[in-house]
């Protein structure tokens, strides 16, 4: 039965998507919502049944479903095949449950949009592609989902296509992730050439047993890191995610929480066995992760657009996950992925409600004092914010971040034979990131909800939006409690779920304490700066100049992209604005015609000349000859005599 449920879980949203694409005209607004939510809901139901089935089995149990052989040529074979183990089980649960809640929310949020069917068709296709990605047991099959989520994000970011800026943002997202996709393809080609198969299990096994050369492993993992960074908007690919806010808010929630950006984290966690063999690449992942984490947190601190703050915070939180992956704490990365999905979906959906009721206003400095007018949404947003900041005990983010930070402390890199104890440095930077996180998100909270009311929110948040918010709020508060540091309580449900033994070494209590104090101090600083003295900091123009570097980062990176990629491409495009070969051919043709014209002229001139001269010569000659024959006998006799003389002279003279 389970073997039947896995394809069914993928098929449900896919079929819903096909129905919505093809029958858009024949469905009412309500019908569209029912089909979309029904598809994702059925898929979620399948996943829950699968979870119940799998959790009753031993932890090493892996369910393989081979559907058919995709291609077999030479010594290579690829399959359309699914695999359910604990990692993919976690992922499908997150994707379908959070995705389903987002769908229910979107049903109310988007109900007035004329292109509702197209919207939901793309959303369900998005979920289907993500399910293929996390369930695939063959890397090439995974690539279907990998590209599929890219396509769906493109369609959804550019959903309101009447504005060229939206479609430009959509294209930017697709191009940047496509660069990563090509890197992924190169990694696939490297591995397929080395082993003749792309099965994840056999791939990792072959690498561990040394069948694959060290260089191939390093190159392939490096390519995969590039792919994952592009998908997750890490440095240097971070530029697309903030622009992706152009799409409808539920789309942002889906991209940031359940699908798309987490694909890279999933890939690295899935292949952790392979990455463990490439320590240099792992170190690179950790360093880039921590850099992204700090850069994005600083940038989020100076944004004034609510959705952009959340977008940069996503990049920053993904930095945490990559930091964890780089240090080998992949279970911590997955735990943070899960809690992040809860609270980021909550934050986006709450932000969507706020923006909708504030009359499509996104600037936080123009919507003060909303706390009193919409207490429910405020509570939801604050729950999400404390989870994101990782406030001790009440935020899911606290537990997952704690798992990562406590794992970071003993981390060491083995680079070129040197043992580098980088753990404490990374830990310190991670702690700084936690402080910044609390600072920027509570800055937004205080600015938006505190103070005297400046905007009058209209309407009420309908139940269709309120219920998903409530569910996600509960998950954000309690979702992290499945795994706690031993200092608090010996609960290790998450590691048990993944089938790992709980961490043996007890982290010192002061590590946990430091991890708890950093977000609290961030909260305090935010309250001092924006909560207590509202007039000063709020009215200050050009807040961005507080942190000059951070404020200019997005612009600077865009300018850098412009300089490095776009400008040279434009120049090259200018050069080839004509097809060079066709241009040369056209030129040759024109030259040939010119030359033949000239030749024609020359020929005509020559013939004319020759003909004219001939005529003249003939005429002159005939006149001359005519003179000689004038009929006078004396002249003839004189000619004869002269000729005779001449002849005699030539004969006699030697």
């Amino acid at each position: 039965m389970a073997a039947f449920l896995i394809p069914l879980a993928v098929l449900c949203p896919l079929v819903a998507s096909i129905i919505l694409f093809t029958c858009a005209r024949h469905l009412s607004t309500r019908g569209v919502g029912v089909v979309a939510c029904g598809g994702v809901g059925l898929s979620a139901l399948c996943c829950v049944i699968l979870a119940a089935w799998l959790l009753a089995r031993p932890v090493t149990e892996v369910l393989h479903v081979d559907l058919w052989t995709w291609m077999r040529a030479g010594g290579f074979s690829a399959h359309i095949a699914f695999m359910l183990d604990r990692i993919s089980l976690l992922m499908i649960l997150v994707v379908t449950i959070v995705g389903g809640l987002i769908h229910i929310y979107a049903m109310s949020y988007m109900r007035t949009d004329p292109a509702l069917a197209r919207f939901f068709a793309c959303m369900t296709l998005f979920v289907a592609a993500m399910l293929v990605l996390v369930l695939a047991s063959d890397l090439l099959c995974l690539f279907i989902g990998w590209e599929g989520v890219g396509l769906c994000s493109y369609l959804l970011i550019g959903f309101w296509h009447d504005n060229p800026a939206n479609t430009a943002a959509a294209r930017k997202a697709f191009y940047l992730t496509r660069i990563g996709d090509v890197a992924f393809l190169c990694a696939l080609l490297l591995l397929a050439t080395a082993t003749g198969s792309l099965r994840i299990a056999s791939e990792v096994g072959a690498a561990e047993s040394g069948q694959v050369s060290h260089m191939v492993v390093n190159a392939a993992t490096l390519c995969m890191v590039v792919a994952a960074f592009a998908k997750s908007a890490q440095i240097p690919f971070q530029a697309w995610l903030p622009d992706a806010m152009a799409g409808p808010t539920p789309t942002s929630a889906l991209i940031h929480a359940a699908t798309m950006v987490t694909a890279g984290v999933y890939l690295l966690a899935r292949l952790h066995g392979l990455f463990a063999l490439a320590p240099a690449v792992q170190a690179l992942v950790a360093v880039m992760g921590v850099l992204t984490l700090l850069m994005a947190a600083c940038t989020a601190l100076v944004q004034s657009d609510l959705k952009r703050i959340l977008a940069w915070s996503t990049i920053s939180q993904l930095g945490y996950m990559y930091l964890a992956l780089g240090c080998g704490i992949w279970q911590g990365a997955l735990f943070h992925l899960m809690t992040h999905a809860f609270f980021k979906a909550l934050l986006f959906l709450a932000a969507g409600s706020i923006i909708l009721r504030a009359g499509h206003e996104q600037d936080i400095f123009r919507m003060n004092g909303l706390g009193r007018a919409m207490p429910g949404v405020t509570a939801a947003f604050v729950a999400g914010a404390s989870a994101l900041a990782g406030l001790p005990l009440v935020g899911a983010g606290f537990y997952s971040k704690e798992m990562i930070l406590s794992g970071l402390w003993p981390a060491r890199f083995m680079l070129a034979g040197h043992d580098i104890p980088a753990g404490p440095v990374l830990w310190g930077l991670g702690l700084l990131g936690a402080f910044l996180t609390a600072l920027y998100i509570f800055r937004a909270v205080f600015v938006v909800f505190e103070g005297d009311s400046r905007t009058d929110p209209t309407g009420r948040t309908p139940a269709g939006m309120g219920i998903p918010l409530a569910c996600l709020a509960v998950m954000s508060v309690f979702g992290g409690m499945v795994e706690m540091p031993d200092t608090l309580a010996p609960i290790h449900l998450f590691t048990a779920f993944l089938g790992l033994s709980p961490p043996q070494a007890h982290e010192p209590a002061w590590l946990v304490l430091a991890g708890a104090l950093a977000p609290l101090s961030g909260l305090l600083a935010a309250w001092v700066l924006w909560g207590r003295t509202p007039r000063i900091m709020r009215e200050m123009p050009g807040q961005a100049s507080i942190i000059p570097l951070a404020g200019s980062t997005p612009r600077a990176t865009d300018a850098l992209y412009g300089l490095v990629f776009v400008r040279p491409l434009r120049v090259l495009l200018w050069f080839v604005r004509h097809d060079v070969a066709a241009y040369c051919l056209g030129r040759t043709g024109r030259l040939t015609r010119l030359a033949s014209d000239r030749l024609e002229l020359a020929r005509r001139g020559m013939i004319g000349l020759v003909a004219g001269r001939t005529v003249m010569l003939t005429r002159e000659g005939s006149i001359l000859l005519g003179r000689m024959q004038d009929g006078r006998v004396r002249w003839y006799a004189a000619w004869i005599a002269a000729g005779l003389c001449a002849a005699l002279a030539t004969m006699v003279l030697p």
Binding site: F21, A24, W68, T69, W70, M71, R72, A73, G74, F76, I80, L140, F143, I144, W146, E147, G148, L151, Y154, L155, G158, H161, D162, N163, P164, T167, A170, R171, F174, Y175, R178, I179, D181, V182, L185, C186, L189, L190, A192, T193, L572, L573, V576, R577, D579, A581, A582, L585
Partner: protein
């Protein structure tokens, strides 16, 4: 009568009948409207039935060759009408018929100017193409090769767009000129065979066993290669293609892009790699370089076009670069990838040209900046266009990706650098495809109202079939891969081992 000869003759006969039926007095007498179109449809349906008969007659063919046909034609010169069909020919003929059906079903009923002649020429081109895919006598092959060019030339020159004369002339000069080089090569091969064995023959299987010194086999193969490279087309011989594709009427564009280009790939597999395996192996680095150049250059130029049909035409050059790369990769996987890529490109680009034609018919322009967003007015047309644009950018799960991946996998052990360069072509593919999507499908609509209806049920059925084919090709290409493998030549294999031995 062998079904193979019928396959070639039926379109030509049907075309002739269509011409006759279009006579106004005859049409009036029979009370038949669109007589030529109906006749063409009937011919194509009959042809498809015949092909289905050939395909499914032998459930398990004894050898790799499915059907044969042999009649002497000019016995003193050893010329015969010899037709043979293997999986490769069969797959490409199926592609031709599916595309022709789609093309006649969607795009040719609107032709009113001398409809009879138009359909006659269209079917004659099809006959020539099918003959090219079947002929195994080199003289007959050359005959069909020329046969398909002339009707196409007339189609472009008479029914084309504004600059049709120029484009038609360019098309004819390039293809005809390269065809003559091929004729020289054919004659050279025949004479070389005559010198060695004293037998004058144009038979493919006999000539394949000709022992040739390396130099002359290289020269002869290059002659063939040039003709096929023009047709494929390979950069820098692609110059005729953008003009011809852009100026041709919709139906001719579809045939050009969908099938005519495939004769180049077919010829390379059958007459370069299999007839001269050693020389082909020596030429491979250059050919693969040309393939890479085609992928990148075609995609690059495609990014820069405003004319919709021109954009699609350049994207064809890019896709056919993968075919060239796969054929000369030196492995069976590469050839299989090339065949899959040919099938997928034929379907996908053919459909894109049909859509471009439909847009041109409604908007009377091909300029993408003038057309504006069509999704609001024509959601079906735009959705179809989006699907094929996505297929063309190489989305996994659709046909093009399967072909491209196999080619890349075949090329990677040869040279990872080439593989990486070809993969970069995929980034550029996304640039031009999405540029097209965001200019005419998902874009701000034009302020003035658009006249013209969305696709009707008939068109949607046709496009749905093509989409289904592409999805099947993308997700389950295995049967096509095993089926359409070109039959190995026992004699050619013998020749290869013989020349390797000393």
């Amino acid at each position: 009568m062998s079904p193979l000869a019928a396959l070639v003759l039926l379109p030509v006969l049907g075309g002739g009948l269509a011409w006759v039926l279009d006579h106004p007095r005859l049409g009036a007498a029979l009370r038949l409207r669109d007589g030529a179109w109906r006749m063409s449809m009937l011919t194509l349906v009959l042809e498809t039935a015949l092909l289905a008969l050939v395909t499914f007659r032998h459930p398990t063919p004894a050898g790799p060759w499915l059907a044969h046909f042999y009649r002497p034609w000019v016995p003193p010169l050893g010329i015969a009408v010899r037709l043979d069909m293997d999986g490769l020919s069969l797959a490409l003929i199926w592609l031709s018929l599916v595309l022709s059906l789609a093309c006649v079903g969607v795009a040719t009923r609107q032709v009113t100017y001398h409809a009879g002649v138009f359909h006659c020429l269209l079917l004659a081109t099809l006959g020539g193409i099918i003959g090219t895919f079947l002929a195994t006598d080199l003289f007959l092959f050359f005959f069909f090769w020329e046969l398909m060019l002339v009707p196409m030339f007339v189609l472009i020159a008479v029914w084309g767009h504004e600059n049709r004369q120029y484009a038609a002339m360019k098309f004819l000069v390039f293809t005809q000129g390269s065809g003559l080089i091929m004729l020289l090569s054919i004659l050279g091969l025949v004479i070389a065979h005559y010198r060695v064995t004293g037998v004058l023959t144009f038979d493919y299987f006999t000539l394949a066993a000709t022992p040739l010194p390396p130099m002359s086999s290289m020269v002869l193969m290059t002659g063939f290669f040039i003709a096929f490279a023009v047709k494929l087309p390979a950069v820098p011989l692609h110059v005729w293609l953008p003009d011809a594709h852009t100026q041709a009427p919709t139906a001719a564009s579809v045939l050009l892009a969908g099938i005519l280009l495939k004769t180049g790939g077919y010829g390379m597999i059958r007459f370069n790699v299999m007839l001269f395996p050693d020389a082909a192996a020596r030429l491979a680095p250059i050919a693969m370089g040309l393939g890479i150049a085609g992928i990148l250059y075609g995609a690059w130029l495609s990014c820069n076009q405003r004319d919709l049909k021109r954009l699609i035409a350049y994207s064809s050059i890019s896709h056919m670069g993968f075919v060239l790369l796969g054929i000369f990769s030196g492995s069976s996987m590469g050839v299989q990838g090339a065949v899959i890529q040919m099938l997928a490109h034929g379907l996908g680009t053919g459909a894109l040209f049909l859509i471009a034609g439909a847009i041109g018919e409604r908007m009377h322009t091909r300029d993408m900046q003038v057309i504006g967003g069509l999704w609001r007015v024509m959601p079906r047309l735009s959705g179809t266009g989006l699907f094929f644009a996505v297929a063309s950018l190489g989305m996994p799960g659709l046909g093009n990706f399967a072909g491209e991946f196999l080619v890349l996998l075949a090329i990677w052990p040869v040279s990872p650098l080439m593989g990486a360069l070809a993969a970069i072509g995929l980034v550029l593919a996304s640039v031009y495809s999405l540029r097209m999507v965001n200019s005419i499908f998902l874009a701000a609509p034009r302020p003035e109202p658009i006249a013209g209806a969305d696709f009707g049920a008939r068109q949607m059925v046709v496009f749905a079939c093509i989409m289904a084919f592409l999805v099947v090709l993308g997700l389950y290409p295995q049967p096509f891969m095993t089926f359409s493998t070109p039959s190995p030549l026992p004699v050619a294999a013998g020749a290869a081992t013989r020349s390797n031995a000393p």
